[in-house]
């Protein structure tokens, strides 16, 4: 099934024309409504009239997460707050959140994109879908929710955190679809297996995203639950889930290209790589009103293909992600930057600034251990003091990251010191 055949199956020429028309309009829009873009364009002597088609996109400067941080919270918004109907936020690199705002029209586009993805995943109006992404500032829950409502499915807004309730309702409501992180779904499959409930479920589709995963994980989810699993991609800066999704052929994720123009760039030269070659993904939001982004660098590594897919869709497809350009980690679906830990530990005077993050996956759930060294001034002969300190650090980290971490106090001088680029992360998960 295809949700919007006109857009998803249009010829490459038609798509290119549509993208050109939208880009021209977008550039004019941001130039006149966002000081940040106007200044950036003026700095390179560009006027909106210089952008005549999508071919001219490469003349425009890039936008990065740092730009969002520097203009926190609403500096990049193109409309007054009276037009913004919703705010979402994700992790920033240094404590300040990355904030995005949506107009009513933006929310409509977003649910349209999610509707396309859900249809790709064989979910329709007769389905009962459990949305088990977090609801709140994170785009996952509300984003998937509105798309599922748009297609007319019966939506169960589970959110996260209660596996027992989720499995009970999955069976009692006869849920046929679920949207959650792939690692969480593997965990759910284990819960179902332990309780011998696997033959009681009616699940057929899973729409998994918010963290990188592998083909191997997909096969494991599919065989354990006897379902089909689909990969959905998105990032809050660009929109949220629904920017791209894979179809039943699993030959890359179809990008909603009429709304989000993808470029894959050589990280060093920032020029486009050839189709099939790996590079950094950047998006230009062609229709967004609230916070339009020009050539936003996602830091995700992928490759792109423009061939027509076996499913009939002509949209560009990006490959499963191959890594990150920066040191961002995704732990339990939450974006985590090591620099956030660093900033959090500065508040704790009992420890040195050195730290090590150890990320692992135990029973399909991500674990984070943060190792810290005690400052010699705070050596103690009492266990209780250490345990209180442990709690205090865990609290500070939880506040900073939004996820819990196990804190381990280690002996002095055991953590690696900065020698050029310090290694602060050991990630034992095999995600790419």
């Amino acid at each position: 099934m295809i949700w919007n055949e006109t857009k998803e199956c249009m010829s490459r020429d038609e798509m290119s024309n549509l993208q050109s028309a939208r880009l021209v309009k977008l550039v004019d829009y941001v130039y006149h409504n966002v000081e940040f873009y106007r200044k950036k364009m003026q700095a390179v002597d560009l006027m909106p009239g210089d952008i005549k088609s999508i071919e001219d996109l490469s003349k425009l400067p890039f936008t990065t997460k740092d730009d969002l941080r520097d203009n926190y919270p609403f500096g990049l918004f193109a409309v007054p707050n009276s037009e913004i109907v919703r705010i979402h936020a994700s992790s920033g690199t240094t404590g300040k959140a990355t904030v995005v705002g949506y107009t009513r029209h933006d929310l409509e586009i977003w649910s349209e994109c999610v509707a396309r993805c859900l249809t790709m995943a064989n979910v329709g109006k007769d389905d009962v879908i459990q949305i088990a992404y977090g609801y709140g500032l994170f785009t996952g829950g509300l984003g998937a929710h509105s798309g599922a409502e748009k297609i007319g499915a019966t939506v169960v807004p589970m959110s996260t955190g209660n596996s027992k309730k989720l499995t009970t309702m999955m069976i009692d409501f006869g849920a046929t679809a679920i949207a959650c992180t792939p690692s969480y779904l593997l965990h759910i499959s284990e819960v179902l297996a332990e309780e011998k409930l696997l033959d009681k479920i009616k699940l057929k589709s899973a729409i998994c995203g918010a963290e990188p995963w592998t083909e191997k994980m997909r096969h494991e989810i599919e065989s354990r639950l006897n379902i089909k699993a689909y990969d959905i991609y998105g990032l809050s800066e660009v929109m949220g889930p629904g920017v791209a999704c894979d179809c039943e052929y699993h030959k890359g994720l179809h990008v909603c290209e009429d709304h989000f123009y993808p470029e894959v760039l050589n990280s060093a030269t920032l020029t486009a790589v050839a189709p099939g070659e790996t590079g950094e993904l950047a998006f230009t939001t062609l229709t967004k009103e609230g916070i339009p982004l020009i050539r936003y660098r996602t830091k995700d590594l992928t490759s792109i293909s423009y061939d027509t897919c076996e499913c009939g869709r002509t949209s560009a497809r990006i490959s499963r992600f191959k890594g990150r350009v920066d040191d961002m980690l995704i732990i339990r679906g939450v974006n985590v930057f090591p620099s956030q830990i660093e900033a959090a530990l500065v508040e704790v005077e009992e420890v040195t600034p050195h730290y090590m993050m150890i990320v692992d996956r135990v029973n399909n759930l991500d674990t984070l251990e943060v190792q810290v060294e005690l400052d010699p001034k705070y050596y103690t002969d009492e266990i209780r003091t250490l345990q209180l300190l442990n709690k205090k650090i865990a609290h500070v980290i939880q506040q900073a990251l939004g996820i819990s971490a196990k804190v381990k106090i280690v002996e002095p001088q055991t953590l690696v010191r900065s020698e050029g680029k310090a290694v602060h992360v050991i990630d034992n998960r095999k995600l790419y």
């Binding site: 050596y379 266990i383 250490l386 345990q387 106090i409 002095p412 001088q413």
Partner: protein, 143 residues
Amino acid sequence: MLAKQLTVFIENRTGRLCEVLNVLKQNKVNILSLSLADTTEYGLLRLIVDQPALGKEKLTENGFSSLLSEVSIIKIPHKAGSLQELLKAIEEGGVNIEYMYGLSIEDDEAYVVLKASDAAKIEEIFADYEITTVSSEHLHGLN
């Protein structure tokens, strides 16, 4: 009178305790008593040694986190009930004991090492009850 205790922070890793003891051995620091308080992640090795300052210096040189803190070492008769009587006196004085362990040096005398929640107050209690405490120097002499 307070005595010095040498505390070493040790991660729960195979051989780590042995490495601490090796440093002390090589520097001829004699251990008179020890207590190991442990959690799943790490332990605190508390030591009464004949040369605490030297022990700390050498452990620090070898990369261990060690600390000299003050504890009370109390001489009690080597007979049934004497420890209970001591604790009763401390309890009546309203002082909490953070930790405690034994130390046996002489045939007919026993010692307990204890850390009180209130160091000043426990000194008063010892004075009131005529409880004898010993110094690090005294212990060094016994060695």
